[in-house]
């Protein structure tokens, strides 16, 4: 999640939600995101909310450390139980992200999941994912997770090329992520994802192809590929500004994306979101689909974002402040916004247009419909689905999704 928090109204001390947020909740799936804000080192491109210190002192002297982090987070899961009250939903997805979740002991991750199971209950077919750093896991660690109820794992691979990893400050050795896939399979993980980054300064088309080939060789059932975003305030942004590394041109990003879609498509991975490909419908990341389809999720951890029934809120960023709030029995929420009908309509368009299923044209107003017709004419929307009342992006349209969204929301 990006480190800058939006502006919003304050969250009540007890974290309670406006009553309408829970109306009709039973019809919406509920997920949990658990944020682990620790990393061994900070990567040059990363602007996520993560810290390399193992101990952070918060307000009121509360100590937030890696060692007691799971307990702190479990406190928030219990707060969630209180806030959601008699909401009887079982949890459909759990996603542990970071930071580097695997810097915590495997048992800690399992305990956090256990708290959710205890407080809410897990659906029988729940998807339980953790992100993992290829260097910080081994087969025993993976086996502990699997036995503890995790069934999906996502490795940050980024690139198969050492020189590219170096620009990104990634410390793992090439080949290690691919080995992780095999190890995860061996201990019984059904679903494995590899994350890739393209457009890193210094990366060539061939470097990118070789990374994709390496992924195909490892055979995960899910691949995410992201264009490198140079965020303000990162080490990489400073290096680019100083001219130490070149900025990657948008056209190069476009070329890399086309290569990814071609290579992955040919190998049986089908896009289902602009930056995500899966070998089957079952291999899709259900948790991410909750985000994209306006479902409910509770994000626990410093800086984590949540959404329940049209209310979005976000926690304080600093682990010390976060732990301090929970220790004092307060919600760690830093701010929230209650979405208007129009906000929700706009969000649906901007999120669902990124999906293979697209946006129902019925969601558009007349100016948006005119724009959709124009986008169809320009080859940005697929003709078939359009005829069936859906705006679905073509390959070229995916690369221009934001521009299309700007027109469709009119």
């Amino acid at each position: 999640m990006p480190s800058a928090l939006p502006d919003g109204e304050p969250v009540p001390e007890d974290g309670s939600l406006p009553a309408p947020a829970l109306a009709g909740a039973a019809d919406r799936p509920l997920g949990f995101y658990l944020h682990v804000p620790y990393c061994a080192t900070r990567c040059g491109y990363c602007d996520f909310n993560t810290y390399t210190a193992t101990e952070l002192r918060g307000t009121g002297g509360v100590l937030a450390s890696r060692d007691n982090y799971a307990d702190t987070l479990i406190d928030e899961v219990r707060l969630a139980r209180k806030v959601l009250g008699d909401d009887s939903r079982e949890v459909r997805t759990v996603f542990v992200g970071g930071g580097t979740p695997t810097l915590l002991a495997a048992d800690d991750l399992v305990r956090m999941l256990g708290a959710i199971r205890d407080e809410f209950g897990l659906a029988a077919d729940a998807e339980v994912t953790t992100e993992a750093n290829p260097e910080s896991v081994d087969e025993r660690y993976l086996a502990t997770l699997r036995e503890g109820g995790f069934n999906r794992i996502s490795f940050g691979m980024q690139s198969a090329q050492q020189h590219v990893l170096k620009v990104l400050d990634r410390t793992h050795t090439p080949g290690r992520p691919e080995a992780c896939v095999a190890e995860a399979r061996a201990v019984g993980f059904d679903h494995v994802n590899l994350d890739l980054i393209y457009g890193t300064p210094g990366e060539s088309d061939d470097d990118w192809r070789s990374s994709l080939e390496a992924v195909l060789g490892a055979g995960p059932d899910h691949v995410s590929a992201y264009a490198l975003i140079v965020e303000e305030g990162t080490q990489l942004a400073r290096r680019i500004r100083r001219g130490e590394v070149p900025m990657t041109d948008d056209d190069v990003h476009a070329d890399r994306y086309l290569i990814a879609d071609e290579v992955l498509g040919a190998a049986g991975y089908e896009w289902y979101e602009v930056s995500n490909w899966a070998t089957s419908r079952a291999a899709r990341c259900l948790h991410n689909e909750l985000y994209w389809r306006g479902a409910d999720w509770w994000g626990a951890g410093p800086g984590a974002h949540s959404h329940v029934g049209g209310v979005r809120w976000w926690n304080v960023k600093h682990p010390g402040a976060y732990a301090g709030a929970l220790a004092a029995g307060r919600s760690p929420g830093a701010g929230r916004e209650v979405l208007s009908e129009e906000d929700r309509r706009v969000e649906r368009i901007l999120l669902e247009l990124r999906l293979r299923e697209g946006v129902p044209l019925a969601l558009l107003r007349s100016a948006g419909l005119v724009a959709a017709g124009r986008a169809l004419g320009e080859g940005l929307l697929e003709a078939g689905p359009y005829g069936e009342g859906r705006a679905v992006l073509t390959l070229r349209g995916r690369l221009l999704a934001d521009a299309v969204v700007r027109d469709l929301v009119d």
Partner: protein, 624 residues
């Protein structure tokens, strides 16, 4: 300080022999307003308590920019302090002339209301082109010239050198040049004495039908139009009905009086006198500078000579940045026109800029002042198209078109195109002769002559197409002469020239706001420059956009904006959603500031940047 004269003759009962009507010719910054301030104090018409700097300049813009746009007349009593002291109290009417080249006609009418003029020149800088032009105008009107060097208290003053220069110009002795400091007041009383001594008293026929010349007309929101007149023959009396001789319109005199310096009603204004009248008209075009006023009954039959209708020389399209401000712009122009008979405009529609007005101006300063007043006094944000001149186009079939907007330049078989030309006078230190001539040559100038005013100062005269100086000529001249050159020009007619219209096409659609009429030799450079500039300013869009410059159907320059291939954020997870929605809202706001030209979104900034680029804007060029 001399005593304030007693026994001041009253308006309408003043012996013409005691009248002195004079104006001050000076370059901007040479201290005219300060001198006027000192005269007001010295003659006692404004007391110390009420005094403020540049007392006579009413409009903020005038005071801030140090220019005088509208002239006024002040009645000053003065008993000469030299000689035997028996001369008695005289009445000095000081007529403040507009100080700029665009208002030459108004200057000429002010001069026609006087018998003499004070030629005021900065003792550190010498005479400037525009002052010289007005001096020639005064000499043509056979005015008595009182040469004065101002700012003699400045360390950089060179009174000897510039006395010599003035003496050469007007044919007097260097010792005859008065030396004053308007700032400190030194020599101002001597100057007033000299005006009484040298400027002739007006000569008119007292008993003839009234004939009064309008030399200024000012709109006042409380009183309507205040018209300043010089009575040549006869007398105007309060409450009589008067007639405007150019139109035959009659009005009742609601008020008649003199300014000293506040408006003071009187019984009338007698022969040779200067004063104001108020008739209740609401629009200065009903009371035009240069027109002759007479009595309705038993009035004069022959008007005074020299009247001209003001004719706009430079045109520009003015468009509100926000289209919804259009009615406000119309209202603002209507208001300004009340006070500006030379301002003309008519509604115009631009495919690129929306609804606006094609506005005609006397010249560049006029344009500048109007635009600034629209923006400042009426809070309007405007886009102004590059200023252009008026072309007369004769088709092969003999049809004639008058073109005030380049986008309306006719297509088809053109026989001849005529453009206005001016006679330009440039004064500069002689070291810059080379670069000035070079500049004038590139602007299609023809050298008329060159004279040395003094050892190291030269007057260069050129015929230039007006179109060549409405762009950036003056800025170029200033930068090539380190600011030393001064420029004056006067329209002298028209010439047949090889002119073509260059159109700019965006994705095949002509952008009317960018069409320009240029000499055929300059068309290519204009096209290349504009096309390159637009390529920089227009963001990449979903499709490839060719930008072309064309003369008729012949493309002379082309650039392409490549289609944008990527406009999508890679990641959009839980925490990104609020941020992304907010970004979208911001982008939508940005989109509102885009103008659609055909199917191309052009940022408003691009229009402003192109139209106000150094190479072709009129903005800020007027100060001389």
């Amino acid at each position: 300080m001399p005593a304030i004269p007693s026994h001041v003759p009253e308006p309408s009962r003043t012996d013409p022999a005691l009248l002195r009507n004079f104006c001050i010719i000076a370059h901007i910054d040479h201290g005219k307003s300060t001198l006027a301030d000192r005269m007001l104090q010295l003659t006692g018409v404004v007391d110390q308590r009420q005094m403020r700097a540049q007392y006579l300049d009413r409009m903020d813009i005038e005071r801030e920019r140090g220019i005088t746009i509208k002239s006024q007349a002040v009645r000053l009593p003065w008993a000469p302090t030299d000689g035997d002291g028996q001369a008695g109290t005289h009445i000095l009417n000081m007529i403040d002339t507009p100080g700029h080249v665009d208002f030459t006609y108004e200057v000429s009418r002010s001069l026609a209301a006087c018998e003499g003029t004070v030629l005021l020149v900065d003792a550190a800088q010498g005479i400037e082109a525009q002052t010289l032009a007005n001096l020639y105008l005064a000499m043509e009107n056979e005015l008595t010239i009182v040469p004065v060097l101002n700012k003699i208290d400045l360390p950089a003053a060179q009174p000897e050198k510039f006395s010599e220069e003035l003496a050469n110009l007007i044919g007097c002795q260097p010792e005859d040049v008065l030396k004053v400091s308007a700032k400190t007041g030194i020599g101002v009383d001597a100057l007033l004495n000299r005006v009484v001594r040298d400027v002739p008293a007006p000569v008119g026929v007292k008993d003839a039908p009234a004939r009064a010349m309008i030399f200024d007309s000012v709109y006042d929101s409380y009183r309507g139009v205040v018209t300043y007149v010089r009575v040549i023959d006869g007398q105007l009396n309060k409450r009589e009905r008067i007639k405007m001789m150019s139109t035959g319109a009659t009005h009742e005199l609601l008020e008649i009086g003199v300014s000293s310096p506040e408006m003071t009603p009187a019984d009338g204004i007698g022969v040779g006198e200067v004063g104001y009248i108020i008739t209740g008209v609401k629009d200065v075009r009903q009371s035009k500078v240069g027109d002759t006023i007479t009595s309705k009954d038993k009035g004069a039959t022959e008007a005074l000579g020299g009247y001209k209708d003001p004719k706009p020389m430079v045109f520009s399209g003015l468009y509100p940045l926000d289209g919804s401000d259009y009615p406000d712009l119309r209202e603002a122009l209507d208001k300004l026109q009340l006070n500006d008979a030379a301002l003309v405009y008519e509604p115009e529609t631009s495919a690129a800029l929306g609804f606006g007005f094609r506005v005609g101006f006397l010249g560049l300063l006029h344009l500048d002042v109007i635009r600034e007043r629209l923006e400042r006094e009426f809070n309007l944000e405007l886009i102004a198209t590059a200023p252009n001149v008026v072309y007369r186009v004769i088709m092969e079939d003999g049809k004639e078109h008058t073109v005030t907007n380049p986008s309306e330049f006719p297509e088809g078989k053109i026989d001849k195109v005529f453009e206005p030309v001016v006679r330009a006078t440039i004064l500069a230190p002689s070291e810059f002769i080379g670069s000035i001539m070079e500049l004038c040559q590139t602007r299609r100038g023809t050298l008329l002559g060159m004279d040395y005013l003094s050892e190291d100062r030269v007057e260069i005269r050129y015929t230039l197409p007006l179109a060549e100086i409405v762009f950036d000529f003056f800025d170029n001249l200033k930068s090539k002469t380190r600011g030393y050159a001064s420029l004056d020009y006067e329209p002298t007619g028209e010439q047949d020239a090889q002119l073509v219209k260059v159109d700019i096409l965006l994705h095949g659609d002509r952008v009317d706001a960018f069409s320009a009429v240029t000499h055929k030799d300059a068309a290519y450079a204009y096209g290349v420059r504009l096309v390159a500039k637009l390529r920089e300013l227009i963001p990449r869009q979903a499709f490839e956009i060719p930008i072309q410059a064309a003369i008729g159907s012949r493309v002379i320059a082309r650039e392409t904006i490549r289609a944008i291939r990527k406009d999508v954020l890679a990641k959009c997870y839980g925490g990104d959603i609020s941020r992304k929605r907010k970004l979208l809202e911001k982008q939508k706001e940005g989109k509102k500031r885009m103008k659609m030209v055909g199917s191309v979104e052009v940022p408003q900034d691009a229009f402003i940047a192109v139209l106000s680029s150094d190479e072709n804007a009129g903005s800020g060029k007027g100060k001389k």
